[in-house]
Amino acid sequence: MEQLNNIGASLDFYIFVSIALFSIGAIGVLTRKNMIVLLMCIELMLNAVNLLLVTFSTFFGNGDAQIFVFFIIVVAAAEATIGLSILIMAYRNSKSIDIEMFNKLNG
C-alpha cells in the first residue's frame, strides 16, 4: 500500500480517469461538428491512452510504456500536422470546417 501511495491514488483510479477521458473524447468526436474541435477530441483520446500507459509503466516499473508514449506523442504531432493541412485544404474547397457539409459522397 505504501508503494502505491507513492503514485498518489491507486492504480484503478488512473485507469478510471483514463477511461473517462477516452469516453469524453469519443463523445466529443461524436457531438462536435467543428473539424478542429474534432481533432482536439482525438488528441484527448490519445492523451487518455498516454495516461493509461504511464500508469502501467509505473505499475510494472519499467520504461517501455513511457517510450511508447513518446512514440504516441510523435505520431500525434505528425497526425495533427497532416490533419490540420487536410483541414486547410478542405476549407479552401468548401469554405467551411463543418463536417456536416462533407456529405457529397454517400450511398
Binding site: 508503494q3 491514488a9 484503478d12 485507469i15 461524436l30 484527448l44 513511457q66 500536422t81 490540420l84 485544404m89
Partner: protein, 171 residues
C-alpha cells in the same frame, strides 16, 4: 493533504476540464481547456514519477501542437457565426453512445479494479527518468526511433503538399 487526495483532485479536474473541451461552444475555448487538461495530465505524470514525459507532454502538446491549432484557427479566421450548430438529437445520441461506451468499459474492466493487489512495483523512481529512457530509446528501441523519421518525412512532405497554395499563373 495526502498524495492520494491530490491525485483524486487532479483526476477530477482533468475530467472536468476535458468535459469543458467538449462542451465549450467556441473552438478557442476548447483549445484553452484542452491545454489545461494537458497540464493536469502532466502533473499526474509527475505524480507517477514520469518526469521526462511530463515535460515532453507540456512542450510538445501544450506548446507546439496546441499553438498550431490556435494558429490554424486564427488563419481560417472563423467567427462565431461560422461555428456549426450541433443538432440536439444528434448530441443526445452521441452522448448516449459515449456514455454506453464508458459504462461498458467500466463493466468489462470491473474485475481489474483490484488490480494492484499483490503486485510490487519495482524501481518506481528510476523508470521515468531521462537517463533510463534515453538508454532504452537508443538501444532497445533504436529501430522504431529511426523508423519514425520516415513518418516525419512523410508527414512533412504531405503537409507541405496539401497546405501549400498552388502557384497562380498570372497572365
Amino acid at each position: 493533504m495526502s498524495l492520494q487526495m491530490i491525485s483524486v483532485i487532479l483526476g477530477s479536474l482533468t475530467i472536468a476540464s476535458a468535459l469543458m473541451v467538449v462542451l465549450s461552444k467556441h473552438p478557442i475555448r476548447s483549445v484553452i481547456y484542452l491545454v489545461i487538461t494537458f497540464f493536469f495530465i502532466s502533473s499526474m505524470y509527475i505524480l507517477m514519477n514520469a518526469q521526462f514525459l511530463a515535460i515532453v507532454n507540456m512542450i510538445v502538446y501544450a506548446g507546439a501542437i496546441m499553438v498550431l491549432f490556435l494558429f490554424v484557427l486564427m488563419l481560417l479566421n472563423l467567427n462565431k457565426e461560422a461555428e456549426p450548430e450541433t443538432s440536439r438529437m444528434g448530441a443526445i445520441t452521441a452522448v448516449i453512445a459515449g456514455g454506453t461506451l464508458f459504462l461498458v468499459m467500466i463493466t468489462a474492466l470491473r474485475d481489474t479494479f483490484q488490480y494492484g493487489k499483490g503486485y510490487t512495483p519495482v524501481k518506481v523512481q528510476d523508470a521515468g527518468l531521462v537517463e533510463q529512457l534515453g538508454k532504452m530509446l537508443f538501444s532497445k528501441y533504436l529501430v522504431p526511433f529511426e523508423i519514425s523519421s520516415i513518418l516525419f518525412i512523410a508527414a512533412m512532405v504531405g503537409a507541405v503538399l496539401l497546405a501549400k497554395r498552388e502557384k497562380q499563373v498570372i497572365d
